[in-house]
Amino acid sequence: MTEAPLTDIAAVIRSKNAGPYELTLDIMFKDEKHYRFLKQIDYFTRELFAGLYGISVENILKVVYFDPASAVKCTLVRSLVSGSIGDSDVYGAQQHAPLLFLKVPVAD
C-alpha cells in the first residue's frame, strides 16, 4: 500500500478547545478521494489518537467522520482544564503537532 504524508493530502489540521474540558482535533482533506479511502478502511481510530498523544484510549471521547466537509474529528479529554494551574495552552490551539508527522495510506 502507498503512503503519503498527511500534510500533503490535508488542507486543514488544527486543534482547539471544545469547551474548557475537551480538546478537539480536526483534519480536513483537500480531496474527497483520500478522505473516502481512509474512512473506508477506518484508519482514524481512537487507538491511533491515543498512541499519538501518549494518553489512554478512555481519554479519547470520540472519532467522527464528517462527509459534508471531508473531515475527521477527534475529541479528547484535556489533561488539565483550560486555564487551570499548570495548563499551558488556554485555547488549545497548538496541540495538533503530532498529526503533522503522520504518514497515512492512500489508494493506489
Partner: protein, 452 residues
C-alpha cells in the same frame, strides 16, 4: 414577500473584534431585519468570569457598537447583543450598558433597551443540586455543595425564551448576559415562525461572522437569510465566499460532535443537513432539525479563586545547562522547597522542550539550542507569590550545577524588573447542566429608556 424571509446581519465574530465599515454599509443597504452579535466566549479561560472583566477593549467595543446602534436606529430594526462583556455576568453587562449609554449621550440617541441578566445565585444552584437537578457535562466532574460555595461567580446560558419575552415590549436594543451563542441571531426569527433548527444553525454560523467563509475572518460582515425551508449565507466582502465545504466545515469548529449540537432546551441534529452552492459566492443550507429536550436544561459556568500568581521569564543558551535541564530544575525545586508554603505551587515551563504540550509532547528527547523558561509561582496572597518567585529565580540564576563553567549566571532574564506579579488566579469549577421548569425564570429582564 417580506414575511417569507428574514435577514440577519452579523458584523463580527466577537463584539470589539472590529469589521470593515465598507462590508457593514453593504449589509445595511440590503435592509436586514436584525443586527446581532455575539460578545462572548469561554476560550480566553476562567480569569475574565472570575475577575468580572472583559477580554475585549472598551474603545474597540465602543467603535463597533457606534456603527451597529446607528444603523439599527436608522432602519428601525432591533440590535441584539449576546453574552455582554465576554462572560455575561452582571459586571460584564453593566460595562457594556455604560458604553451604550455613553454612545446615546454623545449622539443624542433615544431608544428603548431590554437588559437580560444571566447570573445564578449560589443558593439557587445549591437548591438544584440538592434536588438532583445538576449534572456534569462530561468530562467535567460532579460537584458538591462545597464547589458551589467556593465559586466566585456563576452564570447560566439563556435560551431563546428570555429574548422572546424581552422582545414583547419592542426594544431597539436587547443586551443579554450569558447566552447560548446562536440565540441573538435566531430568537427573533423563531418568534416570527421560522423553523428553530434552521434558525439556530444559521445562528451557529453567524455568531462567528465570516470565520465560516473562505478565506475566513472573524472581523468581517455576513448576511444570513432565513427562509421557511432553508437559509443562505453571503459574505459582504467580495473577497470572501461561502462554499458548501467552508459552511459545512464550520460545524466542526470548537465542537466535539458535528452531527449533534446540544443547547438550552434541545439540540440541533445535522444528520440530514444539506450544504449546497447557490452560486459562486453563496451557500444554501437545509435539513437541520431542532430536537426539543425534556427536561429543559441550561448550562452553568462558574469559576473559583485559586490564588495569586507571580512569574519570571528567562532564556538559557548554555549547552552544558541545557543538557541537564530536567535534573537541574528538580534540584532547584528541592532546594527552594523550604521557602515554599504547603499550599504554594511552583511550576517551570520550559519552551524549546515541552512548554506547549507538556506530558503529551511526543518529541521527548529533542532539545533546542536555546530554551525559554517561565518560572511560575501560585500562592495564597500576592506578597507570598512574589517572594517565592524571587527566591526561585535567584536560586536558579546562581545554581552550581555539575560541570558548570559559566559561573556568573544561568539565566538571560528578559526584563527589569525580572519578576512579574500577575494577580488573581481563577479556575473553572462549574460546567454543568441544570434542569429548569421555566426557561425564563432564571433570567430577569429590565426595560429602560436610554438617552437624553
Amino acid at each position: 414577500m417580506k414575511n417569507d424571509s428574514f435577514k440577519v446581519l452579523s458584523p463580527t465574530a466577537i463584539l470589539g473584534y472590529g469589521f470593515p465599515e465598507r462590508s457593514f454599509v453593504r449589509g445595511i443597504e440590503k435592509r436586514p431585519d436584525l443586527i446581532a452579535v455575539d460578545a462572548g466566549s469561554t476560550d480566553p479561560g476562567p480569569y475574565y468570569l472570575g475577575a468580572g472583566k472583559s477580554f475585549t477593549s472598551r474603545s474597540a467595543v465602543k467603535r463597533d457598537l457606534e456603527l451597529m446602534l446607528g444603523a439599527a436606529l436608522e432602519l428601525s430594526i432591533p440590535c441584539i447583543i449576546g453574552t455582554a462583556g465576554g462572560c455575561g455576568a452582571r459586571e460584564h453587562v453593566a460595562w457594556t450598558e455604560a458604553i451604550i449609554q455613553e454612545i446615546a449621550r454623545e449622539k443624542g440617541y433615544r431608544f428603548k433597551m431590554a437588559v437580560i441578566y444571566a447570573d445564578v445565585s449560589k443558593a439557587e444552584v445549591l437548591r438544584a443540586l440538592g434536588q438532583g437537578r445538576v449534572s456534569p457535562l462530561h468530562p467535567a466532574p460532579q460537584i458538591a455543595a462545597e464547589d458551589v460555595e467556593n465559586s466566585v461567580r456563576i452564570v447560566a446560558q439563556m435560551g431563546a425564551e428570555p429574548v422572546f419575552k424581552a422582545m414583547e415590549s419592542g426594544p431597539q436594543i436587547v443586551l443579554c448576559g450569558r447566552c447560548y451563542d446562536p440565540v441573538p441571531f435566531a430568537a427573533p426569527a423563531i418568534m416570527k415562525g421560522f423553523d428553530p433548527g434552521l434558525a439556530y444553525h444559521l445562528g451557529k454560523i453567524l455568531e462567528c461572522a465570516a470565520i465560516a467563509a473562505t478565506p475566513g475572518s472573524g472581523r468581517d460582515c455576513v448576511m444570513g437569510t432565513l427562509y421557511m425551508d432553508s437559509f443562505e449565507l453571503e459574505s459582504l466582502n467580495e473577497e470572501r465566499r461561502f462554499t458548501p465545504t467552508s459552511t459545512a466545515a464550520h460545524t466542526l469548529y470548537e465542537k466535539s460532535d458535528p452531527f449533534h449540537l446540544p443547547g438550552p432546551g434541545g439540540s440541533l441534529d445535522l444528520c440530514a443537513t444539506r450544504f449546497e452552492a447557490l452560486d459562486e459566492r453563496r451557500a444554501r443550507v437545509s435539513g437541520t432539525r431542532f430536537i426539543p429536550a425534556d427536561p429543559y436544561t441550561v448550562k452553568l459556568e462558574g469559576v473559583k479563586h485559586a490564588g495569586f500568581r507571580a512569574i519570571s521569564i528567562g532564556g538559557i543558551r548554555d549547552p552544558i545547562l541545557i543538557g541537564q535541564i530536567d535534573s537541574v530544575l528538580t534540584q532547584v525545586k528541592g532546594q527552594v522547597s523550604e521557602a515554599l508554603g504547603s499550599t504554594d505551587t511552583l511550576l517551570f515551563h520550559v519552551y524549546g522542550k515541552d512548554g506547549v504540550m507538556g506530558k503529551m509532547e511526543p518529541e521527548k528527547n529533542r532539545l533546542s539550542h536555546e530554551l525559554g523558561l517561565v518560572i511560575e509561582v501560585i500562592a495564597g496572597d500576592q506578597e507570598q507569590a512574589n517572594a517565592v518567585c524571587s527566591y526561585v529565580r535567584s536560586t536558579l540564576l546562581h545554581y552550581g550545577y555539575p560541570g558548570r563553567i559559566s559561573t556568573a549566571g544561568n539565566l538571560a532574564l528578559l526584563y527589569s524588573p525580572s519578576d512579574i506579579p500577575c494577580g488573581d488566579v481563577f479556575e473553572f469549577s462549574i460546567y454543568h447542566l441544570m434542569q429548569v421548569d421555566d426557561p425564563e425564570a432564571l433570567f430577569p429582564i429590565e426595560i429602560s429608556e436610554v438617552g437624553p
